[in-house]
């Protein structure tokens, strides 16, 4: 992760993992309580719907519980559970691939260059102008306009804070491909949101 946790938190996490491996279920439950919100959000961001996000959450922690004895602790538990959850989310997407997958070409010209159409400034503080549920609907709608592979890169890099290299490794992409997808994902999301948040 780009922003490592404070050393005390990492030590504490290591202790919980050791306890959980020794059969202390409360320790595992503490790890779940610590990260379930983030893993659910990961599922929401990558799969784009609540049912799949819940499946991702459950499957990821159930797998982590089952494979905990195999966890070598050469990375943080959190990194490990994120990796499991991303794989679960991508599997979900593969299972229902396509009709919902929208090409991204409409934001590119004939040379493959990204075309920016919305140049207006945004109204200040859009997050304060919409109810939380409405804002979630807007952001989810914009995210769903991206192909899942682009959405996943955006989520891992910009929301989760993984480095370009970590994202590339996790998704089995080149560093160049991650950068290209991130660039297009950011501009496409901005373009979609500008339709709603622009002034005037």
């Amino acid at each position: 992760m780009t922003q490592p946790p404070p050393a005390t938190l990492a030590r504490d996490e290591g202790h919980l993992v050791s306890e959980a491996k020794a059969g202390n279920y409360s320790a595992f439950e503490e790890l779940v309580n610590r990260y379930e919100k983030k893993i659910y959000r990961l599922g929401m961001n990558i799969t784009g719907n609540r049912e799949d996000a819940e499946d991702v959450l459950q499957d990821a922690f159930l797998k982590a519980f089952e494979h905990l004895p195999d966890f070598r602790e050469d990375s943080r538990f959190y990194t490990w559970i994120v990796r499991i959850a991303v794989n679960e989310a991508l599997m979900k997407l593969r299972k229902r691939r396509s009709s919902r997958e929208v090409p991204i070409q409409d934001s590119e010209d004939e040379n493959g260059e990204v075309v920016v159409r919305e140049f207006a400034d945004w109204k200040p503080n859009p997050e304060q102008q919409f109810a939380q549920s409405e804002l979630e609907r807007i952001l989810q709608g914009a995210a769903n306009s991206l192909p899942p592979g682009f959405r996943t890169v955006f989520y891992l890099r910009d929301v989760e804070g993984l480095s370009t290299e970590e994202t590339a490794e996790l998704l089995d992409l080149t560093v160049g491909a991650v950068k290209a997808r991130l660039f297009r994902a950011r501009l496409r999301l901005r373009e979609e949101l500008s339709k709603i948040f622009k002034r005037g």
């Binding site: 595992f28 819940e54 519980f65 997050e127 952001l139 910009d158 660039f183 950011r186 501009l187």
Partner: protein, 81 residues
């Protein structure tokens, strides 16, 4: 280095947001953003886009989802013992 046009500036906005531009290009882009309202709007709203998705209050975990997760884990635990 001189930015030729807004397309070039927009291509560099991501690198700028990530702090990856070399000092000369960074300086040139910043100069462009001070006089080009269009590119500044793109920069500003791209930054805001990222901030909106990073808001920790988004997609909060519903209580019933939390409950079902812990029930599923307990069932798994009982299966193990």
């Amino acid at each position: 280095m001189r930015l030729v046009n807004c397309n070039k500036a927009i291509k560099e906005i991501c690198g700028y947001l990530d702090g990856e531009l070399d000092p000369e290009l960074k300086h040139t882009l910043e100069a462009h953003l001070t006089y080009c309202n269009h590119c500044h709007a793109v920069y500003d709203s791209t930054k805001k886009t990222i901030e909106l998705y990073c808001d920790g209050k988004l997609f909060s975990l519903p209580d019933e989802v939390h409950t079902r997760l812990h029930e599923a884990l307990k069932r798994k635990l009982q299966g193990h013992t």
